[in-house]
């Protein structure tokens, strides 16, 4: 839609006379402006926020409306349920510096962003490297229980505690104890 509109303007500006295309571009600028008008004050939205239903407002305007009817908070345009927490601020380039400080209005809700998941490390606990070799002790059907616990099949384990902390030392100690226990157990099995 937008591209076809610009195309027609370009065509008319190449073929038409000077005065004609001036007014046309002005009209188009006007249309562009009104696309970003706040639905409440009808001015170009300042401190713009968008509701989940997609309607644009100035944050001060929308805030005032939500304060007006605290019990029944609906979108002024489409009457969808709306709340302060569920509006998205729009950050244009250089929009923050020109705003005048509005003491009465609480600050516009901040945008929410979540960090992408860190790449999960290959096979946790299956190497004797940094992340620690865990030895655990359990009683079960002998060969299977032994294999699963040693080779860490199934659920990934939580990573080892950082080096130098009390927990790290304790874990190292426990790991050694269980290793010795396991060795003794196997020795006993072989002897018996």
């Amino acid at each position: 839609m937008a591209s076809s509109a610009t195309e027609t303007t370009k065509e008319s500006s190449t073929s038409g006379s000077g005065s004609g295309d001036n007014s046309e571009t002005k009209d188009e600028e006007k249309k562009d402006d009104s696309m970003f008008e706040c639905n409440i004050c009808l001015d170009t939205a300042r401190d713009a926020v968008v509701s989940m239903c997609g309607h644009l407002f100035c944050w001060p305007c929308l805030h005032q409306w939500l304060e007006t009817r605290p019990n029944r908070q609906v979108c002024p345009v489409c009457k969808a349920a709306i709340s302060k927490e569920k509006v998205v601020p729009l950050y244009g380039r250089g929009s923050t510096k020109q705003e005048d400080p509005r003491e009465k209005v609480p600050p516009r809700p901040a945008g929410q962003r979540t960090e992408p998941d860190p790449a999960t490390a290959g096979f946790p606990g299956f190497g004797f490297g940094e992340n620690g070799f865990h030895m655990s002790f359990g009683i079960g059907a002998f060969p299977f229980g032994f294999f699963t616990s040693t080779l860490n099949f199934g659920e990934p384990r939580p990573g080892a505690a950082p080096r130098g902390t009390q927990q790290h030392l304790e874990e190292q100690f426990l790991s050694k104890v269980f290793l010795w226990l396991a060795v003794l157990f196997i020795f006993w099995l072989l002897m018996a």
Binding site: I40, C41, L42, C61, Q64, W65, V74, P76, V77, K79
Partner: protein, 154 residues
């Protein structure tokens, strides 16, 4: 437009667009509204093909300085008050968007269109059943009335 209150700013914008591109059947005298931006008189014409075809009515809009967060006070005024089940003979209108269902995204133009559509969908010209009692007892300001919106058909 500097030095205006937010409500006047918005009313000025609405007036300009209404004068420039009035919807069919609606006209506003820019001078009357310009003398006092908080008080407008709007002429509307009954739509063709309806019971009110050819009739002319006058709507009075009074705005508070909380507009558009506060709804305007809208009544029929003048000689001809439409005979309609939701319009009292004193000009008060029973229309939910004028009180409970008001939204700041509505405008003078959308209110006019709602009222015209309310008139247009009327099947039989009659006053509300409690007209005599209401007109005797009501407040001058229709917004003070506790309206009971029950009939969505007209």
């Amino acid at each position: 437009m500097a030095g205006m209150s937010p409500s006047e700013r918005r009313l000025q914008k609405e007036l300009m667009s209404l004068v420039k591109e009035p919807p069919p059947g609606v006209s506003v005298d820019p001078d009357i509204a310009e003398r006092n931006l908080l008080h407008w008189i709007i002429d509307i014409r009954g739509a063709a093909g309806t019971l009110y075809e050819g009739e002319r009515f006058q709507l009075q809009f009074k705005f508070s300085n909380k507009y558009p967060f506060d709804s305007p006070e809208v009544t029929f005024v003048g000689q001809n008050i439409p005979v309609h089940p939701h319009v009292y003979s004193n000009g008060h209108i029973c229309l939910s968007i004028l009180t409970d269902d008001w939204s700041p995204a509505l405008s003078v133009q959308s209110v006019c269109l709602s009222i015209m559509s309310m008139l247009s969908s009327c099947k039989e010209k009659q006053r509300p059943p409690d007209n005599a009692f209401y007109v005797k007892t009501c407040n001058k300001n229709p917004k003070k009335t506790k309206w009971w919106y029950h009939d969505d058909s007209v």
